[in-house]
């Protein structure tokens, strides 16, 4: 049935070359764990992306219940965690995935570093990878405030004090991130907007660049 549906669409739109172009490419022997088990280190990038997809999905679902408002944020999180079916699971995915994505990204970076994959002609992809790293840290920092509990509040306070310690510009950076002079209502909406719109948008653009460059340049050779 799927085959005939696929053929029906393919006859009209000729989609086979499109996905062939994306999916049909050779995996060199030195990155295939079936040949050398130690090649599993080449999976970390893909695993990072896999967890990122889970983060995006679970985050989208969480916003069905969450409100970024200082009166209701905590109660809405409490409600979705304890009253909604699978709330603990969906929030758990987002919570643990957030840490896991950092771990996987770190392992991926180590692999790239120790295989020397950042060297010419792939320097630009290393730069883009570093930008992704900072965007991910930003997502972690802004997401941490959203439950609006004590931990979130004081973690953000400390984080903003650190931002405020930048020479000369510190006070401006801090006030801009605060959206005012205190960690409060405007900080929460600001962090929410950055967490769900600005940084994910930047992340998707950077990931696209990251992947296009890999396809263009191929996987780096064996050690």
């Amino acid at each position: 049935m799927f085959k005939s549906m696929y053929n029906w669409i393919d006859e009209r739109l000729d989609i086979t070359p499109m996905w062939r172009d994306i999916a049909d490419h050779e995996v060199p022997e030195h990155v295939n764990p079936a040949h050398h088990f130690s090649a599993f280190v080449y999976c970390f990038g893909g695993l990072t992306f896999f967890i990122t997809v889970i983060q995006i999905l679970s985050g989208m679902f969480l916003t069905m219940y969450y409100v970024p408002d200082i009166i209701n944020a905590y109660y809405s999180v409490d409600y979705l965690q304890h009253q909604v079916a699978f709330g603990a699971i969906v929030r758990g995915m987002h919570h643990w995935g957030a840490s896991l994505v950092i771990v996987m990204m770190f392992l991926h970076t180590l692999r790239v570093f120790f295989t020397g994959s950042y060297k010419a002609p792939r320097e630009m992809n290393w730069i883009v990878g570093m930008l992704i790293f900072f965007v991910m840290l930003g997502l972690g920092f802004t997401g941490y405030l959203l439950p609006w509990d004590n931990k979130a509040y004081y973690a953000t306070k400390v984080g903003l004090e650190i931002a405020g310690s930048v020479p000369y510009l510190g006070d401006y950076i801090k006030e801009l991130m605060n959206g005012g002079t205190i960690v409060g209502a405007q900080t929460l909406t600001r962090f929410f907007a950055i967490h769900v719109f600005f940084l994910p948008g930047a992340l998707l653009a950077l990931l696209a660049g990251h992947f296009i460059m890999i396809r263009k340049q191929g996987i780096s050779g064996p050690l």
């Binding site: 109660y75 079916a85 709330g87």
Partner: protein, 176 residues
């Protein structure tokens, strides 16, 4: 194990009615992939559809007016109900048009127009009709639709106790 040899034995008898290696691998990988994707996505879907699966709370009866004060002329009564809306609890004000019917029974109509949900009131245009200001829907004293609205006005469940009228959940009109 020698990979080339394995491949040869799998390829050699082409007419065998067994599953090919390619088929086996695509079923196994597809199955494992579907299982993993399902494990991630099903909880999210159940999470999203939770509102339609949650147990609806039975509305409580609220004391609104003394039985002796209800006449055959509809009067509006306002009352508060406790409402739990996710993490937000409130006591919104509702209103009902309460009257004694020709059969002597006390009934209470919901003022929500059955056309598009505006609020109707008694004797606003004609002294013996409910009228909705939005699109001119009209109803009889029993809430029976006369114009515009497709259905008659809803009723509150009525309970009488110790000389007081109590209103409960909303139900479809039983009098029209």
């Amino acid at each position: 194990m020698d990979h080339n040899k394995q491949q040869d034995t799998a390829h050699a008898p082409a007419q065998r009615k067994e599953m090919t290696r390619r088929q086996f691998l695509s079923y196994t990988l597809g199955g494992a992939g579907a299982f993993m994707a399902g494990g991630a996505i099903l909880p999210m879907i159940r999470f999203a559809v939770d509102p339609i699966l949650q147990k609806k709370e039975k509305g409580n009866f609220v004391k609104v007016i003394e039985e002796s004060k209800v006449t055959s002329e509809p009067t509006e009564v306002k009352f508060k109900v406790h409402q739990v809306d996710g993490w937000y609890e409130s006591d919104p004000k509702l209103s009902a048009w309460i009257a004694k019917g020709d059969d002597g029974k006390i009934f209470a109509l919901s003022p929500v127009c059955k056309h598009l949900g505006c609020t109707v009131s008694w004797a606003a245009e004609s002294p013996t009709e409910y009228h909705c200001p939005c699109h001119g829907a009209r109803y009889t004293k029993d809430g029976k639709t006369l114009a515009v609205a497709p259905k008659s006005l809803d009723e509150y469940e009525v309970k009488l106790d110790n000389g007081w009228v109590y209103l409960g959940p909303i139900e479809p009109n039983t009098r029209a």
